[in-house]
Each structure stands twice: as structure tokens, then as C-alpha cells.
């Protein structure tokens, strides 16, 4: 049986569907063609996926099923769905001491694959980048008549970040402190890593003030505050909002995941010298075909065009976990790196054999005898390994290596987003004047792909902050069940995003990378809401729930700031 499905997890899909149908796992082949965006909704095994296999088996003919857009809205998963109650304890000087959270999670009508894990991630990340002596959290899962909730870009971290970053701003307003000052005062210090949080995590590395300072410089914070004073005198509602977010990526050590958190890579050097990489991570738009080719080219000294990256076919690729939780490069890339080290060690053996010297090293693909300066090329060693006329001792012919890498920890990227807004008193409309995003995702392998991830993430964060909402009527019918009714960001809604980076390598993996797929979404929504609350603070506004629709803002202004 061959199953084509648009999924982030081809191998897990195969295991689960084979299990559901009671068929041998090796009789089922799952192929994930160009997937389209995933964002968590394809990190699931839906009933239809098993049903189509069942029907095909039953009638002995190919079956094709395409969901409608409405079915997609109603029968997959939704994100977020929190009602959070926070209490924060702090000293008068702004030092934060304790944080208490009651989190009510709208589970929806039933569990999907990872539903309970999402609020759990929120609680793990609730301290954000700050030091707390005490943390207390209760999660209440509420089954409702709504669409189930599960992983959606950020999956628990945007919720946690929104909570803590709103609370920090509320505290700053309460103490009449600058929101920058209070953040700098409470950050985990650069000399405190690895840092054990009160929620039981071990933050790997960080320099939390660096992106904040960079973002402040980019926006010219002092000048913006001065401008705000003038704007207020002129009767304008201008706001400056900051979020300094932390996230947890590279999902993750297997102890923390239900079905393994490692990732796999196989590297094959063909007799021609071309390289095939098979990755168990199943990228779907993130661009690992490029990133992994870069890593391979760099390690082996071959051209990037000599590398072919293959994924998403369970009959071709060794077992893998998939792409989600910003793990593709941070876990899958690390697996690839270690597979490449094994191959390099083997290539070196052929170099030793051909040069007749032990004193050799690999330089840009060639093997060089350090004492004589003689060298053999990559091609010569590859041919020697495949033709196998003579072999080094205890060495098999061929050049293939497979590595399954178990990460020792998560990674913890961070960053600072600053948003300048202006609210229209008459319409409640919000104009974004500036959007600064400074993200630290560890080592950046491909700047173009990383900025693309940030842009897309920010767009989704903006959508959540300003427009997007799953609306149900009084009979629990989903009103926003089509793209005509659900307010996604469009090109002309989006501000120009001023994106830059700081680079603090992760010690968790040999590449020093942390992951960036979800950063934009996580950093965005509190920065936007903080900015709009700041704009309306002269009216006495302290908090507004998302989304900040013009109707909601207009009503608030009409009521003189009192909801």
C-alpha cells in the first residue's frame, strides 16, 4: 500500500496507520510530496488518513480524497485557546520574585496527537528570560464543543511569552519604570549559563541584553519616547511595545517526546563523487534541502550542487521523526553532521592507504600528506572505496554512513521585538509604524532562509495579535470556517520588518544552531499588544485581549479606556 499524504511526519504516519489498520508496517509506504505549509496542523494523524487506506484496501482500488477548505477549518486542529490568569510578585525596585498561573486550555471536543503537551510547554516556558524564585502553575484542560487544539506555530511558547511579556509591562506601568529597564534588571545573566529554571529546564546559552540593545538602537528608542511625548501633546495615540522572548527548540531529548526525539541522516557518496543525503526530518518549505547541502558541501569539500537531499519517502529514507518544534536543522542537521564525520573518517582511511602515510589530514575534500605535501583527490579516494581493489585494514567497501542523533538537551533561542504603533481615535484602526525584530537563533547557516522564517513567523504573530480569531456562534457552530470569514494577514496589511540577528551559539549540538521556525510568531504578539496598550495608556488602559480588532479598540476609546 502506498499512501501520499501532506504531512510533517511521514514515518510516524506509517507506524500509526499500519497499527490502526493492523497491517505490517513494512507493507505501507508513505510518500509526502511537496507538502505545503505545515505549522503544526500536519503534525497529526487524522482519521481520514487511516480511512482512505482502509477503503483502498477494502475495494482494492486507488482512493483519492481532498478535504475542502471548510473541512480543513473544522476537522483538523486550531491553535492557542487559552484563558490565562497571572499573578506576579515583585519588589518595589522591579526585581521579580514569583509568578503564578492558572491556565485554562480549550482542549476542544477531543484530544489530537499532542493536545495536552501544548499547555505543558506553556508552563515550562512561563518564566521567559527572567529569574524567578518561585513559580506556580495549574493547567485545567476544558473539553468543549469546539475544534480540538494542538500544535500551531510556536505551540505553547507564544502563549507563555504573551503572558510573561504582558505581565512585565503591567509591572513596569505599576512601578512607573521603563519597560526596558525592568527587563534588563531581571534577565538571566550571561555568566549564569547553563541556567536551571524554576520550571525544570536548563537554558543552554544566552546573551539576552544583546538583541534588546540592538533593537533599541535600531528603533532609536530615546528619540521614539521623545516623539511619543510630542504625539501625546498633539492628541495622537502613539505606542512603543517591546517583547524580549525566549523559546524552547530542537524538540527534543527523547525523554520529553512520546515517540522519540532524535533524528536520523544517511549520507551516500556515489562512485561519481556526487553525494546523496537522506534525512528523517521532513522539511516542507523551511529550505533544509539547501541548508543540508551547505553543511554537506562544507564538511566534505564538494560542490553544493553535487549534493542531493532526499526526504519524505518511507521506502527510501531511514526512519525519522519529522519536522516540527524548530528541530529540522538543530536535530536533523546535527545527525547529518555526525554522519558526515563517520564518512570523513572512512575517507581518510583510503587517503592513508593511497598515500602510504599515517600523517595525513583532509583539506577541502583532498587528503594531504603533511610531511611530503603529496595529496590524493576526493574523486580518487571515492573511486578507491568503490572499486575496492585493495582495502584498508578492517574496512568495508563503499561510502555510506547513517547516524541517529539523540540530542542531550533542547536549545533556547531568544530575541527582542520592538513595535511602534499609532492608533486612530476615530476608527480604532492600528497602524504599525516600525517593526524591529532582532532574533538570536544561534549560529546562522543561511541568512536568507533564516530571515524568511522570521518574516513568516512575524506575519503569523501579527495575524494573531490583530485579526485572527476562531469565532463560534451561540450554538458552537464555527463562523470563521472559510477563508472568506477568517482574517489572515494579506500583503498590504504587513509592515516592513526590520530583521537582524545576534549569534550566540548553542553548546547542545556541534553546529551551534538553535532553530528559528517559530521565533517570529513567539516574539511578535506581546510586542504588538504592549505597543497598543502603551498607546492607550493615557486613557488608563492596562490590558487588551487579542485580537486587537478596530471594533474592540474603538469601543475601548469610546468608553474612555474602560472596557
Amino acid at each position: 500500500m502506498t499512501m501520499f499524504s501532506s504531512t510533517q511526519i511521514p514515518h510516524l504516519m506509517r507506524t500509526m496507520v499500519a497499527g490502526i489498520l493492523g497491517m505490517p508496517e513494512n507493507h505501507l509506504r508513505v510518500i509526502t510530496p511537496e507538502v505545503g505549509g505545515g505549522f503544526g496542523s500536519k503534525l497529526n494523524v487524522y482519521a481520514e488518513e487511516a480511512l482512505m487506506c482502509f477503503i483502498a484496501k477494502r475495494i482494492g482500488k486507488p482512493v483519492k480524497w481532498i478535504e475542502s477548505r471548510r473541512e480543513n477549518f473544522q476537522c483538523t486542529i486550531h491553535g492557542r485557546g487559552h484563558v490565562d490568569y497571572y499573578e506576579l510578585a515583585a519588589k518595589r525596585d522591579g526585581t521579580m520574585l514569583g509568578l503564578k498561573l492558572k491556565l485554562i486550555q480549550d482542549i476542544g471536543a477531543y484530544h489530537q496527537l499532542l493536545t495536552p503537551a501544548i499547555p505543558t510547554l506553556s508552563v515550562l516556558m512561563m518564566p521567559g528570560l527572567y529569574k524567578f524564585k518561585s513559580i506556580s502553575a495549574d493547567i485545567i484542560g476544558a473539553f468543549t464543543n469546539c475544534v480540538p487544539t494542538d500544535a500551531y506555530r510556536g505551540a505553547g511558547r507564544p502563549e507563555a511569552t504573551h503572558g510573561i511579556e504582558r505581565m512585565v509591562d503591567i509591572l513596569a506601568a505599576e512601578l512607573k519604570m521603563d519597560p526596558v529597564e525592568i527587563r534588563l534588571k531581571n534577565f538571566v545573566g550571561n555568566d549564569e549559563f547553563p541556567y536551571a529554571t524554576t520550571t525544570g529546564l536548563m537554558y543552554d546559552s544566552g546573551n539576552y541584553a544583546a538583541p534588546l540593545h540592538k533593537a533599541l538602537a535600531a528603533v532609536d528608542y530615546t528619540a521614539r519616547r521623545a516623539e511619543q511625548v510630542q504625539a501625546r501633546e498633539a492628541g495622537k495615540l502613539m505606542g512603543i511595545g517591546i517583547s524580549t522572548y525566549g523559546e524552547i527548540c530542537a524538540m527534543g531529548p527523547s525523554a520529553a517526546l512520546p515517540a522519540g526525539g532524535w533524528e536520523s541522516a544517511t549520507v551516500k557518496i556515489e562512485p561519481s563523487g556526487q553525494v546523496t543525503v537522506m534525512t528523517g526530518a521532513s522539511p516542507h518549505g523551511q529550505g533544509e534541502e539547501t541548508t543540508f547541502a551547505q553543511i554537506t558541501a562544507d564538511e566534505l569539500g564538494v560542490g553544493i550542487n553535487d549534493v542531493m537531499v532526499v526526504h519524505g519517502d518511507t521506502s527510501v529514507v531511514q526512519y525519522g521523526i519529522g519536522t516540527f518544534g524548530s528541530r529540522g536543522t538543530a536535530v536533523g542537521g546535527a545527525a547529518l553532521f555526525y554522519a558526515l564525520q563517520e564518512l570523513k573518517a572512512k575517507i581518510r582511511k583510503f587517503g592513508v592507504m593511497l598515500l602510504g602515510s599515517e600523517n595525513v589530514s583532509l583539506v577541502g575534500g583532498s587528503c594531504v600528506d603533511q610531511s611530503t605535501g603529496k595529496s590524493v583527490s576526493f574523486a580518487e579516494m571515492v573511486v578507491a572505496a568503490h572499486h575496492a581493489k585493495t582495502l584498508p585494514p578492517n574496512t568495508q567497501p563503499g561510502l555510506v554512513a547513517t547516524y541517529f542523533w539523540e540530542p542531550p538537551n533542547f536549545t533556547f533561542p531568544f530575541g527582542a521585538h520592538i513595535v511602534v504603533t499609532e492608533v486612530d481615535r476615530d476608527t480604532g484602526g492600528i497602524a504599525i509604524r516600525r517593526y524591529i525584530a532582532v532574533d538570536d537563533c544561534g549560529k546562522v547557516i543561511n541568512p536568507l532562509l533564516v530571515s524568511g522564517q522570521v518574516h513568516g513567523g512575524v506575519a503569523q504573530g501579527l495575524g494573531q495579535a490583530l485579526w485572527e480569531e476562531a469565532v463560534y456562534d451561540d450554538n458552537a457552530q464555527l463562523v470563521t470556517g472559510e477563508l472568506t470569514d477568517y482574517a489572515l494577514p494579506r500583503a498590504h496589511f504587513m509592515p516592513f520588518i526590520e530583521s537582524s540577528h545576534t549569534e550566540t551559539p548553542s553548546p547542545v549540538n556541534p553546529l551551534g544552531v538553535k532553530g528559528v521556525g517559530e521565533a517570529g510568531t513567539i516574539g511578535c504578539s506581546p510586542a504588538v499588544v504592549n505597543s497598543v496598550v502603551d498607546a492607550l495608556s493615557t486613557l488608563g488602559v492596562r490590558h487588551i485581549d487579542m485580537p486587537l480588532t478596530p471594533e474592540k479598540i474603538w469601543k475601548l476609546i469610546q468608553a474612555g479606556g474602560h472596557a
Partner: protein, 216 residues
């Protein structure tokens, strides 16, 4: 007798049109959507996104005008020139918009890309020097969940510069830029889908199936 969109029709009709410059004659049901017919005939770059005219993934050019093919009966295209994303490149030579989308990383999952590029082509054909606001306004008809629109908008503006530099104001319905000489002068890359610079820390994205927005 065939079923189309839940309605039974007694009789098929003949549809004659040009797709990507080639004359076609297809037997269709009167209620068939242009989207359905194009996909049935193998133009998989035309994507079914929402079937409500909201997402723009099914955008094609009909007589040079960008339309949602999910909102148009195929029969209405009788005698028309239809351009799908498959017809934009001239053999191995990519259109400046395709080049720019690849060079600037404006393609992520690729699902919306075909429609986006065709909307942009329609814009550049009638306005070779658009402002960023005009580009954003036109691209507003194409939903993209991956890119945040920043790089696509940048790519359209970049393509406009290239197109203006190498193609005089001439404009035809099906292909404005045609086999422009830009490719030989585009510096570090050629139209070969497998050619990208050979250094590691580059900004280049490999060209695989993303060219046509994942042709499936």
C-alpha cells in the same frame, strides 16, 4: 452524462482555447470550473486553495488579466489565451519574476508561489515601474502563510528593475518578457535548475521543484 460540481449535465461542450501558447480543444461539462479543467489536463501549478476566490492560489492569466480560476467557468475561457505558471519560462530560461523569487528566497513551501508570480506578471505588464504600495495592493489577492510577503514583494520590485533594464516597453498578451537576454548577464547563476554557487555561506536557495510551486 457526467457530473460536475454536484450537478448532472446531459451534454458536454467543446472548449477551444490557447494555454501557454498552445491551441487546445477539450470536451468539458458546462459547469466545469476553469480550475478543474486545467488541473484535469495536467496543469498542476494551478492550485486549489479555497474555491471561494479568496486565496489566489488558482490565479491564471486570461488574456493577460489575473483571475481566480476557481471563480470562472471553463466555458467562459472559450477563445481566450490562458497563461499558467508552467508557461512562464521560455524553455530553460526563467522569467525575471521566477529568477527574482528564487534569488531572494521568496519561495518557501511554494503552494502560493505560482499564483503570486502570475498576479505580479499581470501588474508588471500594465505597470512596469510599480511602487511598493502598488505591489502590496496587487499581491493582496494572494494569500501566503510562509513568507510574510516581504521577500515576494521585494522579488517583484527586483524583477521589475530587471525587466525594465532588458526589455523595452513592448508588451504582448502571453509573454511580455519572453527570452530576455537578462539571463546571460545575471551574474552568478544560470537557468540550470541545479546550478547555484559553490560556497557555503551563500544566500542562494537550491532550485528544485520549487520552480513551479511544487508541481503536484
Amino acid at each position: 452524462m457526467r457530473r460536475s460540481n454536484g450537478v448532472l449535465f446531459m451534454k458536454n461542450i467543446d472548449l477551444r482555447l490557447r494555454v501557454n501558447g498552445q491551441a487546445k480543444e477539450w470536451s468539458i461539462a458546462p459547469g466545469d470550473l476553469l480550475l478543474d479543467v486545467l488541473r484535469r489536463e495536467g496543469y498542476f501549478g494551478v492550485k486549489r486553495g479555497c474555491e471561494k476566490g479568496e486565496c489566489g492560489a488558482c490565479t491564471v492569466l486570461v488574456n493577460g488579466k489575473a483571475i481566480n480560476s476557481c471563480l470562472m467557468f471553463a466555458a467562459q475561457a472559450e477563445g481566450s489565451d490562458v497563461l499558467t505558471i508552467e508557461g512562464l519560462a521560455q524553455g530553460d530560461v526563467l522569467h525575471p519574476l521566477q529568477e527574482a523569487f528564487l534569488d531572494l528566497g521568496a519561495v518557501q513551501c511554494g503552494f502560493c508561489t505560482g499564483g503570486m508570480i502570475l498576479s505580479a506578471k499581470a501588474l508588471l505588464d500594465r505597470n512596469p515601474d510599480p511602487t511598493v504600495e502598488e505591489v502590496r495592493e496587487v499581491m493582496a489577492g494572494n494569500y501566503c502563510r510562509c513568507t510574510g510577503y516581504e521577500k515576494p514583494v521585494e522579488a517583484v520590485l527586483a524583477a521589475a528593475v530587471v525587466a525594465r533594464a532588458f526589455v523595452p516597453a513592448a508588451s504582448t498578451v502571453v509573454s511580455t518578457f519572453g527570452a530576455s537576454p537578462h539571463n546571460s548577464q545575471a551574474g552568478h547563476h544560470s537557468a540550470n535548475p541545479r546550478s547555484a554557487p559553490k560556497s557555503k555561506k551563500t544566500d542562494d536557495k537550491k532550485r528544485s521543484s520549487v520552480l513551479l510551486g511544487g508541481q503536484r
